[in-house]
Amino acid sequence: MTSLAFSSRRATRAIRRLPIWIAVALLLIVVGYPLVWLLLGSFKSQREFLESPTWALPEQWNFDNYAVAWNTAGLGTSLFNSAITVLPSLFLMLLLGTAAAFALEVLVWKNRGGVLIIFLAGIMVPTQMILLPLFSVYFQVGITGTLWPLLITYTATGLPLTVFLMATYFRAIPREVFEAATLDGASIYRQFFSVALPMMKNGLFTVGLVQFFFFWNDLLIALTFANSGDLRTLQVGLLNFNGQFGTTQYGPLFAAVSINVFALLIIYLILNQRIQKGLTAGAVKG
């Protein structure tokens, strides 16, 4: 009797939850299916693309498309280019930005509020506004045929957000920590490297990750300063991929897109919790 009432109550609850489960299922299909479709397409032959229905499974799982995408389309080169510009910019931006935030938040001096606001103003400036003068200068200095313009521009454009967020994190650390370190005779530099940086580990990780995705997925700056063959980053390489061989080779195209998407998926799955926390912490405060 009681168990019957209990199970009927459970049934009503299940029915009431039904719309929610339908909504979730629909959501998962809408988000997930294009990615599944992409992955399946990356194994298909050109003939299958032209003849079989688009939702069909590949006839056989061949990895040729990946080899073509990797070698012919120069995905390896562009991956290398992306890595050697994004990682050093990220490192420089974090080091300089955190040092600046330390000087602005922990150290005591006049006008530091004003300087912080000058940094903040940079968050609102559209990149288009600084593109042309930079192009002129890089051209005159003679570094246009290299990846230096990307490295410099990424570092600088990442600074406003980094300084702002790191200053916010420093604000949360009790002043006494630094006062105690001072009493113990630690110099400012020693305090920065041995006390402040280790305490900022979470903040550094969060900001670094958010900016990594910004830099890695940037198209505007890369397209402006690194548009020629050897300098292409992943995004520019992909942009030039379509129709590169006259008629579109669908398999290699799908494979190239898959490499990009699923490589990031792996990074994302490993670091997901921190990304979501980092983005919300930063954005809500902004």
Binding site: L28, L50, T54, V108, I130, L159, L238, I267, L279, G286
Partner: protein
């Protein structure tokens, strides 16, 4: 002690490099760009002074007008779409899925970190008509409809752009707004429920007002981002067909680099910057007034 924490040389060494790079690469170029607006030409062929000609040209340039219109239309449609769907997602996470929402959040968030060009290529194929029918047209045919040439005219191309960008970004706004919603104290919701509020009533009178600050941040964030849209549209339609889906950013890029006119390009960039500033200030003032009214 004040001596150590106020050491001038240390301040210069720690702050100097960042301030120097930031000034050289961002502050100076902004002013420099303003200077470009009264010149014609570029770094390679040289510049000559044209006074306010660029601004006069901007007023009469029908391509820039349509780009401006597209930018505003895009910003409004995408902002409404991504914030509303993001809010719906956030409500789903907080009130329906509760603690079990982690996996769904993770999956729906993933498109946010995907490379824009990859997403655009994916959507190009999803909506293609020839030589292979994409998934969307297959479904249309499957239901007996006539396949649509989505990229054939500006109207339907805009629909694809909107679907793609909302698909990409709703997870981000879902997480952002989720962070705002979980901050609503449980006892406030509980007492509202005891007073008989439920469903829409609870949402309209309790949840939305209490999450207003994070909703407003989302809208500002969204408008600022959508006004600057560049990579997704460039990779999906390249502004076409013709210039029917070309936002200000692409028109600025074309004028500067394809036609080599930095002066006019800078003038367009300035128009964009001014719009971003106006919109941000406008929303801030509007919300400040709204907040005051709410408090009274």
């Amino acid at each position: 002690m004040q001596n150590v924490l106020g050491d001038k040389r240390a301040i210069a060494i720690l702050l100097g490099p960042a301030l120097l790079i930031y000034s050289l690469v961002m502050l100076v170029p902004v002013l420099w760009s303003l200077g470009y607006t009264v010149f014609e030409g570029n770094a390679i062929v040289g510049f000559h002074f044209v006074g306010l000609d660029n601004f006069a040209r901007l007023l009469g340039d029908s391509e820039v007008h349509s780009a401006l219109l597209f930018t505003l239309k895009y910003a409004v449609v995408i902002t409404v779409g991504q914030v509303l769907l993001g809010y719906a997602l956030a409500l789903l996470y907080v009130f329906a899925l509760k603690r079990a929402s982690g996996i769904v959040r993770t999956l729906v968030f993933f498109p946010v970190v995907m490379p824009t060009v990859a997403v655009a290529l994916l959507f190009q194929q999803l909506f293609s008509i020839a030589p292979t029918e994409g998934l969307v047209n297959s479904v249309v045919s499957g239901f007996g409809g006539v396949p649509v040439d989505w990229f054939g005219d500006g109207g339907s191309a805009f629909v694809v752009i909107a679907i793609m960008d909302i698909w990409r970004s709703m997870g981000f706004y879902g997480v952002l707004l989720y962070a705002g919603l979980i901050d609503i104290p449980e006892d406030v919701l509980e007492s509202a429920r005891l007073d008989g509020a439920s469903g829409w009533g609870l949402l309209r009178h309790i949840v939305v007002p209490l999450s207003a600050p994070v909703l407003i941040s989302s809208i500002i964030f969204s408008i600022n981002g959508t006004l600057k849209v560049f990579d997704s549209v460039l990779a999906l339609t390249n502004g076409g067909p013709g210039t029917s889906t070309s936002p200000l950013t692409i028109s600025m890029f074309d004028n500067s680099f394809t036609y080599g006119n930095y002066g006019y390009g800078s003038t367009i960039a300035m128009l964009l910057t001014v719009i971003c500033l106006i919109v941000t200030v406008f929303i801030f003032r509007g919300t400040a007034r709204g907040a005051k009214k709410g408090a009274a």
